[in-house]
Amino acid sequence: MIRVTNLRKSYGTVQVLKGIDIHIREKEVVVVIGPSGSGKSTFLRCLNLLENFDEGEVIVDGFNLKDPNTDINKVREEVGMVFQRFNLFPHMTVLDNITLAPVKVRQWPIEKAKEKAMQLLAKVGLQDKAHVFPDSLSGGQAQRVAIARALAMEPKVMLFDEPTSALDPEMVGEVLSVMKQLAKEGMTMVVVTHEMGFAREVGDRVIFMDDGVIVEEGTPSDIFDQPKHERTKLFLSKVL
């Protein structure tokens, strides 16, 4: 589904990604962990080209992102993204937030888009919020709407960029349970998170990144129970 080869990126003289190689399969849930500044968010944002990269190759759903013939908008239609700070559109109701892209980008008739939106809102438990504006939602509700908005495009992959980091602790659970449900339904997911419990329970594979490289990867039990590298052990000892 996603194949990344020798991905490198610098901001000025600082190299933040120093050669990333990874292959993410269909229906796989890959969880990326690591200290802040390790490049994990930058890596994620390279997968839909929100962040441009200097070297290497990223192939998503068969499209080479650096190929001049690739229409990046077409790729993004298939790659949903959920942000740390939700980024809901504050001038639109929840329903309009969700239907905007299907109508304008996928050219769905409005009725079909609305029906889909209501299904998704039901799925994340927020049917009753369809007609309110985002500023009246709690953080957890806003993030669930953001997930529904991304799902409305019926993407093949979902990228999550620290989806619970901006939430009050009591709201983390409701967002994670929506994500768990999604994983259970077979969605291909790449999740950057600090939620180790989620990584262990839901991840098919856990990637530990530090200083712009993948230090270690494996099944959750490999990483959490028998970490091989010093840096992994050090990081886990701080967060667990």
Binding site: K74, E77, G80, M81, F83, N87, L88, H91, L100, A101
Partner: protein, 217 residues
């Protein structure tokens, strides 16, 4: 002090005509200044430095020199290059539009750049093109923030149109000065003119207030 209402009454028809020209000049300035300002504002946000440069200098020049000087340059220098007898109203309208465009360009740029980067990223991540993201996500939010500074600029524009009097454009201030010259009176013409400008700006203020309120919801 005796206040001579009779000479104001005598000039009333001229003041009336003058007000119409003042409103006309201001409207032209608002409309063309806004259109041109949008173009210049977008130009100034271009990622290409060479493309950005002329727009930046346009704003530097028109914000950094007095409107008074610009009016004189345009009426006595620029316009005669194209027509032998420049029309002072046309010169005034062009000066006001060009000048307002520089300020409005900055209002547009500031309004658009004040929208959180995450909004553009969210829109693009859903597959929208840059133009779609601008149209459906960024601009509707930016316009709301632009209304108060735009209103301010429009009020300045009405008042600044009085400078066109120096090139004999027959707007409100022109007739005030004519009355002063004919009767050697100061209070009657200038208080009358000031009052009329005040009425114009207060009216615009009210209109803007309504627009702002409508956009709030």
């Amino acid at each position: 002090m005796n206040f001579r209402f009779d000479i104001i009454a005598e000039y009333a028809p001229f003041f009336f005509k003058g007000v119409l020209w003042t409103i006309g000049l201001s409207l032209i300035g608002i409309i063309f200044g806004t259109i041109l300002g949008l173009v210049i504002g977008l130009g100034k946000m271009s990622k290409n430095r060479m493309l950005r440069l002329p727009f930046e200098w346009y704003v530097h020049f028109f914000r950094g020199t007095p409107l008074f000087v610009q009016i004189l340059l345009i009426h006595f220098g620029f316009m005669p290059l194209f027509v032998s007898q420049p029309n002072p109203i046309a010169s005034g309208a062009i000066s006001l539009s060009l000048n307002a465009a520089a300020y409005i360009a900055e209002i547009f740029r500031a309004g658009i750049q004040s929208i959180d980067r995450g909004q553009m990223e969210a829109a693009r991540s859903l597959g929208m093109t840059h133009v779609q993201a601008m149209r459906y996500v960024i601009l509707p939010q930016a316009v709301k923030r632009m209304i108060p500074p735009l209103g301010n600029e429009f009020i300045v524009l009405i008042k600044d149109s009085s400078l066109a009097a120096v090139i004999a454009a027959p707007e409100l201030m022109y007739w005030g000065r004519a009355l002063q010259g004919q009767y050697y009176r100061v209070w009657e013409p200038y208080l009358t003119v000031a009052l009329i400008y005040l009425i114009l700006t207060l009216t615009l203020n009210k209109v803007l207030h309504h627009v702002e309120r409508r956009y709030q919801t």
